[in-house]
């Protein structure tokens, strides 16, 4: 053994003893990685193979943005006491209270809905339709403009597996895959071998747009943009691709050459488009770019989604007859929400209070707007809510269907048991109470 070769004992592999649970699906992000091997002991995950730190947190019933998984599971249903503290209630009392809050509302406003099963999303949408409610999906900043542009420029989208096999030019526009979907680049977009890229990242060219250098720069070339010139940059690129040009700007030169020489191009668009001065116009320009490339070679445009079933929610909207591109009920920007007296907020699998401005939080409090939180984990919203209904964490404590970021349906299995109801069960119980309420017309 060479003397200079050293490795710390803690970095060596040690297999935990316990019961194997292989090929679990990770509810950490929109990648829905289906290759997670777990070891269980006493109905607890004691070792997880291949999950990134985000996914690992979920399997430890914690928040995904914490490096060290920390148990954050809600334990019992509770309503807020007049003093502000939580008062435990039964689920039955909780369902009655939630139905009462919804029935008394002049306007019902839904938040989140992107981290729950597809069946529960369909049920939530039936409530949205029943109350003619407004909805702020947690991925609305990205997916509402995406579906608006998709309606104008309809085209099929490729699966991640097709992208891995065929794409040799990858562009992350307003997306940092390392922070929104950590395993996207090693599994599909850059580092995995494919038919057109047997040498993996060496055979691919990757680019990212950003005003500043970031860690994507380790494997991708930066296309500098600013929030003001981003749309023009996309249009400029489209013109060059469409018409050809002898004077390609220096910053776009490598990208144009890569697109021209590539048999298949994949554009990934992320939440960064929300920082653009005009997100809708930018999405429109990116779809026009995709169309221009498509005239010459296959090109797909996919959203990079952090919430594991955000795509499922938008598909559920369409399936339920609500057009996310047209419906005024589906809003994109949570900060645009203006609290009104008579509102009732229902937050499902999300933490809007983390994003709300101080003015929004103060208005919700001063107008006595009831807040119902249906959540697996503790967060700022469950802390502020008037009623908290804990539910099983999908993909860990409960099974159900979800749609990957490319629209592929994947069934999440239950890994460990729980006594808590699923989000579907809770919504169904609330719906039954609403429909049987005699005073409700």
């Amino acid at each position: 053994m060479p003397e200079e070769s050293i490795i710390k004992e803690e970095d060596r592999f040690h297999e935990a003893k316990g019961e194997p649970f292989d090929s679990a699906v990770c509810p950490g992000c929109g990648c829905l990685c289906e290759d997670i091997d777990l070891t269980l002991e006493n109905n607890r995950v004691v070792q997880a193979f291949h999950a990134c730190s985000w996914g690992l947190s979920k399997f430890h019933l914690g928040h995904r943005f914490l490096r060290e998984p920390k148990h954050a599971k809600l334990v019992f249903p509770a309503r807020k006491e007049p003093t502000g503290g939580p008062l435990p209630v039964s689920y039955e009392e909780g369902y009655e209270q939630a139905a009462a809050f919804l029935l008394q509302a002049n306007r019902v406003v839904f938040f989140g809905l992107c981290q729950m099963t597809f069946d529960a999303q369909l049920l939530a949408i039936s409530l949205i339709k029943h109350f003619n409610a407004t909805v702020y999906p947690s991925e609305g900043m990205l997916l509402t403009p995406f579906f608006k542009a998709l309606k104008q420029h309809p085209a099929g989208i490729a699966t991640q597996e097709e992208i891995r096999q065929l794409a040799t030019t990858i562009v992350f526009w307003g997306a940092n895959p390392l922070h929104s979907c950590p395993r996207l680049s090693p599994r599909y977009a850059v580092f995995a071998a494919g038919i057109n890229a047997p040498e993996r990242h060496i055979a691919r060219k990757a680019f990212y747009t950003d005003p500043y250098e970031n860690d994507t720069g380790f494997f991708a070339l930066r296309i500098p943009i600013t929030p003001e010139n981003e749309v023009d940059r996309a249009k400029e690129l489209t013109e060059i691709i469409e018409e050809g040009s002898f004077s390609v700007p220096k910053e776009l030169d490598a990208l144009v050459k890569a697109i021209e020489s590539s048999p298949f191009v994949a554009l990934f668009v992320g939440r960064g488009i929300a920082y653009s001065a005009t997100p809708d116009a930018l999405m429109e320009a990116l779809f026009a770019l995709r169309n221009a490339i498509n005239q010459k070679k296959p090109c797909v445009l996919l959203p990079v989604i952090s919430d594991f079933n955000a795509m499922g929610f938008y598909l559920a909207l369409i399936q339920s007859g609500i057009d996310p591109a047209e419906s005024p009920q589906v809003c994109a920007d949570l900060l645009a929400y203006q609290p009104k007296k008579g509102d009732t907020l229902i937050c499902i699998g999300s933490d809007p209070f983390w994003f709300f401005s101080d003015a929004q939080r103060e208005a919700i409090q001063s107008l006595y707007i009831p807040v119902v939180s249906i959540s697996s984990l503790q967060n700022q919203t469950t802390h502020a809510a008037d009623l908290v209904l804990p539910v099983a964490l999908t993909g860990v404590e409960a099974e159900g269907l979800a749609y990957r970021m490319d629209g592929v349906p994947i069934f999440l299995r239950q890994v460990i048991p729980t006594a808590q109801p699923t989000d579907f069960t809770v919504l169904k119980a609330i719906q039954e109470r609403i429909l049987t309420e005699p005073s409700h017309g």
């Binding site: 053994m1 060479p2 803690e10 970095d11 592999f13 193979f49 947190s57 950590p182 580092f191």
Partner: protein, 154 residues
């Protein structure tokens, strides 16, 4: 240790340029960083009491105290996000795991060099690492492409 620069190491050395180790102190600092020397190879360190504290610091950073023994890969667990790029670019791991080559995680029965366990890079098969083969070509793929800068070769 991963953040130590050659000047940081040099400042802990006697800086007498006595050449008892066969080189000047700056070269010795560089040799420590590249794993070509150990702190104990500096005779004044062993002989003079006033260097005891500095020696201890360097031994903690570079010394072989029985807790390390293979590959030379140093992992900063606070920085690792478990994205798995290191495993995906490790040629030997890809040879040892068909699943990894297809963009998935290696199966339990496979023995790639690197595997992501509990959200962190873990060395499963250090003996297969290219750097363990005698006269091996220098391979830095996992270090060079780690976006979190969590990896260093000593």
């Amino acid at each position: 240790m991963a953040d130590m620069k050659v000047l940081d190491v040099y400042r802990l050395l006697p800086r007498t340029n006595c050449r008892q180790c066969g080189m000047v102190c700056m070269a010795f600092a560089s040799a420590l960083l590249t794993g070509k020397a150990k702190p104990e190879d500096c005779p004044p360190f062993a002989e003079e009491e006033k260097y005891a504290e500095a020696l201890q610091k360097l031994q903690e950073a570079f010394g072989d105290k029985g807790e390390r023994e293979a590959t030379g890969l140093s992992i900063d667990r606070d920085k690792c996000d478990g994205c798995g790029i290191c495993a995906a670019v490790c040629e030997i791991s890809l040879e040892k795991s068909q699943e990894l080559a297809n963009g998935k995680g290696a199966r339990r029965f496979e023995s790639p060099v690197i595997v992501i366990v509990d959200g962190l890079i873990t060395i499963k098969n250090p003996d297969a690492c290219r750097r363990m083969v005698p006269d091996a070509p220098t391979c830095n793929a996992c270090v060079d492409l780690c976006p979190s800068k969590a990896l260093t070769f000593l």
